[in-house]
């Protein structure tokens, strides 16, 4: 088990290195020039010299291979370089904003799992009843509604019913839980809906499949209560594909967050990413892409570990 984890962690390194190299070269093909965009935004007159000076200051005048070496050496020391826009270290820019995004993502995942597991189970148990149909319609809609539009609808409802809007600005949870939740709960609900919908569908179909297994029939024939069959035999086995989907969808969650943070004006990593892309801030884009890839890879590792715990037949090797 420990050996497996270590081996998997070692495999993370080449994958992330591949991502880093790919992003580096992909971004350098970019036609936009952050220097010109920035100078224009500053309202400074753009002359040949100012552009060159600025490029030199940012280290963009070096040959590509030297920039690449700098970048890789920095990465090895967990130094992501400085934002080309603000001049602050990328790690600092991300550090300032990551708390709110992680909190929203975690809340959305939690809401989704808490809703999806019971809902999917009920839907499977009462198959083809009106409960099942309702759950399925709600789930299918969850796949179709863009999370940012759902966010706008939430704001619309809050405004027209209570004439109230969540405050802008993030307060850490331990300082003021109420203020914190009143800001974060809405985006979490908006991105969590899709997550819950996907997990519910998977829970339902996977449970239906398990219920057809021979060992369930055997248990029934022995006269075991349905409730006990569910708890002892069915649920745990049905969880496997659900866990996979929850892991895979976590990436979608981050994607949804990128757009939804804009709707709620939340200054998280999603908004940072949008700004970085709009400005052509190489270093910041690289750092954020690496961060997202890392989160994704570790989520998948966690999913694989959960597999082994849920189903002892799955050997981790």
């Amino acid at each position: 088990m420990l050996g497996y984890v270590v081996r998997r962690l070692l495999l993370v390194v080449p994958t992330l290195a591949g991502v880093a190299v790919a992003v580096f070269f992909l971004i350098r093909v970019m036609p936009g020039d952050v220097v010109i965009v920035k100078l224009r935004a500053d309202g400074a007159p753009i002359s040949e010299e100012t552009v060159l000076a600025e490029r030199r200051r940012l280290g963009l005048d070096k040959p590509l291979y030297l920039q690449f070496v700098d970048y890789m050496v920095g990465l090895a020391r967990l130094d992501l370089g400085k934002s080309l826009w603000t001049g602050e270290p990328v790690t600092k820019e991300i550090g300032l904003r990551i708390a709110v995004s992680v909190q929203i993502a975690a809340m959305a995942a939690l809401i989704a799992v808490l809703i999806a597991l019971p809902l999917g189970t009920i839907s499977a148990l009462y198959r083809d009843s009106w409960i099942d149909h309702t759950v399925r319609v709600v789930a299918v809609s969850g796949l179709a509604i863009p999370s940012f539009w759902l966010g706008m609808l939430i704001i619309l409802v809050l405004l027209s019913l209570f004439n109230w809007l969540p405050k802008i600005g993030y307060v850490p949870f331990w300082q003021d839980p109420v203020a914190n939740l009143s800001v974060t709960i809405w985006p979490a609900a908006a991105v969590g809906y899709r997550y819950a919908a996907v997990a519910t569908r998977m829970m339902r179909s996977s449970l239906l499949e398990v219920m057809r297994e021979d060992y369930i029939r055997t248990a029934r024939a022995k006269g075991v209560w349905t409730r006990l069959i569910m708890r002892r035999h069915a649920l745990r086995n049905a969880m496997l594909p659900v866990v996979t989907v929850i892991g895979l969808e976590f990436a979608f969650l981050i994607g949804g967050l990128v757009v939804t943070e804009q709707v709620f004006n939340i200054n998280g990593i999603g908004k940072l990413f949008v700004d970085a892309t709009a400005r052509g801030d190489f270093n910041l884009i690289q750092g954020l892409v690496l961060l997202i890839a890392t989160i994704f890879i570790f989520t998948n590792l966690l999913v694989d570990l959960l597999y082994g715990w849920l189903d002892p037949r799955v050997r981790l090797s």
Partner: protein, 299 residues
């Protein structure tokens, strides 16, 4: 997603009664609903000139923020542009970008996957590593980076680079599916026969393998149209996709319209509903197509 290839034997045993369309309609009522909505949107896209009552880009300061009903079915926006007309023309953008990027991504992915499964060995390993790296990003993140990298490039009124950006994240997913389908086909005798006949690799892949992965290809392509429409709307909403004054649903929701939550909620309700309904229709149709084309998945 477990997509199993339809083998040639199965294609031949399809029941011959009635036309294909009629069979689909009879066995997949939900798919029919999806199909009807899609047909409606296609009609919007093709007949926009006749269906839309107003010019979608015409600014009318005399009719700013007019509520729905009366002359303007879905009301007007802050520039007095007719929301309904913009939604009708927006179908053009959504379908063009959605269908083209899905086809582009799926075709490239299918070829990559087929090559990967056919050649095996080092080529397979190399392609799979690329696929792994591409899969470690959420769709939108990859698309955003590509949009940023490529900029905008208009060709016949369509942003080619936007289509590339949306197609790119689709490639690895299709490649995975095509590869696993190909792996089950390459062991079949007819491939050996083609090899023995001395056909080139290209010919075997294009003439003998691709026709046999058409079913998973169609299923994936339909499913990805829904995702591509969603992605285009999200990118346009962020200001990274379609740009003003081109009518696009995501763009209609973007930026300024947020100021009008209370005064003009129709500016938010209708474009979002248009996106949701389109994605819903393609999902529904795609699901039914899968059940219909792939009897093994039925249980």
């Amino acid at each position: 997603m477990a997509v199993v290839a339809t083998t040639p034997a199965q294609v031949e045993t399809l029941p011959p009664r009635g036309s294909l369309l009629w069979q689909f309609v009879r066995t997949q009522p939900l798919g029919l609903i999806g199909l009807l909505i899609i047909v409606l949107y296609v009609a919007f896209a093709l007949g926009a000139v006749w269906i839309a009552p107003f010019d979608p880009e015409a600014v009318d300061f005399g009719a700013m923020l007019a509520p729905p009903g009366g002359e303007h079915l879905f009301g007007t926006d802050q520039y007095g542009r007719d929301v309904f007309s913009r939604i009708v023309y927006g179908a053009r953008t959504a379908l063009a970008v959605g269908i083209l990027s899905s086809l582009f991504g799926c075709t490239l992915g299918a070829l990559m996957g087929a090559a990967s499964g056919y050649f095996g060995g080092r080529i397979d390993t190399a392609i799979q590593r690329v696929v792994d790296i591409m899969l470690s990003f959420p769709l939108i993140v990859l698309a955003m980076v590509v949009v940023a990298v490529l900029g905008k490039k208009n060709l016949a009124g369509i942003d080619v680079n936007l289509i590339t950006a949306i197609a790119l994240p689709i490639i690895p997913k299709m490649a995975r599916v095509a590869r696993s389908s190909t792996l089950s086909i390459v062991t079949m005798p007819f491939i050996d026969a083609a090899r023995a006949a001395g056909f080139s690799h290209t010919r075997i892949i294009l003439r003998h393998i691709t026709p046999n992965i058409v079913a998973p290809y169609l299923i994936m392509a339909t499913a990805f149209i829904a995702q591509a429409i969603l992605l285009e709307a999200s990118l346009s909403f962020l200001g990274l996709g379609v740009t003003e004054p081109t009518p696009a649903w995501g763009l209609m929701l973007s930026g300024t319209s947020a100021d009008f939550y209370q005064t003009a909620p129709w500016m938010i309700l209708f474009p979002g509903a248009a996106i949701t309904l389109a994605v819903f229709a393609f999902n529904l149709f795609g699901d039914s197509l899968r059940d219909w084309l792939d009897p093994k998945l039925k249980s």
